[in-house]
Subunit: 329 residues, 2 copies
């Protein structure tokens, strides 16, 4: 195995949902992560999301030596230059928008830059990958797509239903992201994305972040590097290596109650089947990102291809989608 690449590689993790503290931020620094997309809402209303955002902004302020708030690609580049990690704030649900088209602009002004259209259940925007049927984007959902485009917020389809995903890709004026999911052909679960969604996403300039959450891996955390590597090689062949990135779904230090709430929310009294996630031995924490870069080179990816997967592809995507001078900031 070649030695880990030099410190100048850009590393982006397109999804983490850890219970953040200074120790975890130091882990990101150890991993040389220049940008991490952090989830600030799963099921939350507008009001509850404000509290989550307040908590994240407070964490960023009190750890300004390690992290900085990302509102633009320039902020990511600044984070990298200053040896810090840029924190990109996002939602895994349109729930914070409630039924109010104006709330997208309000959350944009607060510095949120990524909105997944649905979490695990149907909402007022569209359908999730876990519903038995998917009618595509609702009337409100179509307006939300236009609003996110106009504001320069990224649309995320990782947990979204297949038909809603295809309609969103088609309708969006900007490329859309699948920040954290694998191909369904790699492991056949609803949370992984089917060929038509992967292809359409890439064809419109989107990026797919491969994911190491046990649920989306064959054999869970036991998925070994050769298996994952072969998936990466095939996915790069399928949609183009420039459309592949990483979105780990790391949920570090999260207590079991939180993980149970992710699945069951308040919508059901039935406990949903969730184990506490373990992580593959070849990427146990964000501190191991540089070693992953070395593995990509060993797998046969060229230097520029490997740099693309590790972060440059996400940077290009963000540059296309974010408006550097957003009307509301």
């Amino acid at each position: 195995m070649t030695s880990p690449p030099a410190d100048d590689w850009l590393i982006v993790d397109a999804l983490e949902l850890s219970r953040w503290d200074r120790e975890l931020l130091l882990e990101l620094r150890e991993g040389n992560v220049s940008c991490v997309h952090v989830t600030c809402a799963f099921w939350e209303s507008a009001r509850d999301t404000l509290s989550r955002l307040g908590q994240m902004l407070s964490l960023i302020r009190t750890n300004a030596d390690l992290v900085t708030h990302v509102r633009s690609v320039a902020d990511i580049e600044n984070a990298r230059r200053s040896g810090r990690t840029g924190i990109l704030l996002g939602f895994q649900n349109a729930s914070p928008l409630e039924d109010d088209i104006e709330l997208a602009g309000a959350f944009h002004a607060l510095g949120v830059r990524v909105v997944q259209l649905t979490y695990n259940n149907q909402n007022h925007v569209g359908s999730s990958c876990y519903e038995s049927a998917d009618a595509g984007l609702s009337r409100f959902g179509r307006l939300v797509i236009g609003e996110l485009n106009e504001l320069g917020m990224a649309i995320d389809l990782s947990h979204v239903g297949d038909r809603t995903s295809l309609e969103a890709i088609e309708l969006s004026q900007a490329p859309v992201a699948i920040t954290h999911a694998n191909p369904r052909w790699f492991h056949d679960v609803p949370r992984n994305r089917p060929d038509d969604v992967l292809r359409a996403c890439a064809a419109r300039g989107g990026v797919v972040g491969v994911c190491i959450y046990p649920l989306v891996l064959p054999e869970g955390a036991g998925c070994d590097w050769p298996q994952f590597r072969d998936m990466l090689l095939r996915l790069a062949d399928q949609i183009g290596v420039e459309h592949v990135g990483i979105g780990t779904d790391f949920a570090r230090k999260q207590p079991a109650e939180f993980l149970a709430w992710l699945r069951a929310g308040r919508w059901t009294r039935q406990p949903q089947d969730v184990g506490e996630p373990a992580w593959p031995e070849w990427l146990p924490t964000p501190a191991a990102f540089p070693q992953l870069a070395g593995r990509l080179l060993d797998a046969g990816f060229s230097d520029s291809e490997a740099r693309g997967i590790m972060g440059e592809n996400w940077l290009r995507f963000f540059r296309t989608v974010f408006q550097e001078e957003g009307a509301c900031t």
Copy 2:
């Protein structure tokens, strides 16, 4: 025309959304209305619905000589005996339930007895009649049906999408209501209900409340009594006269801003096409209900059939659906 029937007829209006004040309550008394189903939420969250309910409960308290809060069929019978109008509280949207299965029980305890599954847009429960596609009940929606059944709350499908409606009728253990809509064959708009929904609703013991909101009438408020009468006769033939009731949709004294909000909510900046509703000259206000009873007899309905349409059919429906000794009251 025969003279209006005697004061002993039970009159139920299965939907009104007026801006209530004492003058309007006196109008209900003039019309000898023993029960009116009053909308307390259209787009509102749980929090905002609490305020609406507080307002209605306050109105009921301060006009206790005219009205009383209906939690059971016994309350309707008591209202009738005491010469008052029973106020049945309901929602035209599942929005007050938010994403929390426990909120149904909380609103039941507050005395709410009717929940329409969706208003005009798709939500987390199902699809509305105005969406271009309808995937049926969501995962949460199926749990909501069970919860409403268990609590003894009526399910209303007046604005609900066709497929969601059929699935709700099929899944519900109790009959369901279409409190305020007409057959689509009478006037072909999405808000009116198609044959399969009307038939399935009746086959499971439900009741359809014919409606005089201009939007659901051919020629709007210009729809004359012979037209409406012929619709009633044909509908009674189609689904059985015992499944026909009245749900006027009276929106008295509501300002234009409120009516615009009903359509546009906060989900769109585009004004939705809403005129201020006018009402047919043969039923201009709830005070005219006794004359309507006379018209039904003139139309050829028997005494018991006409009494059924005017209120007894709703009373039977409520008796089947409400649990007189609700676990939460």
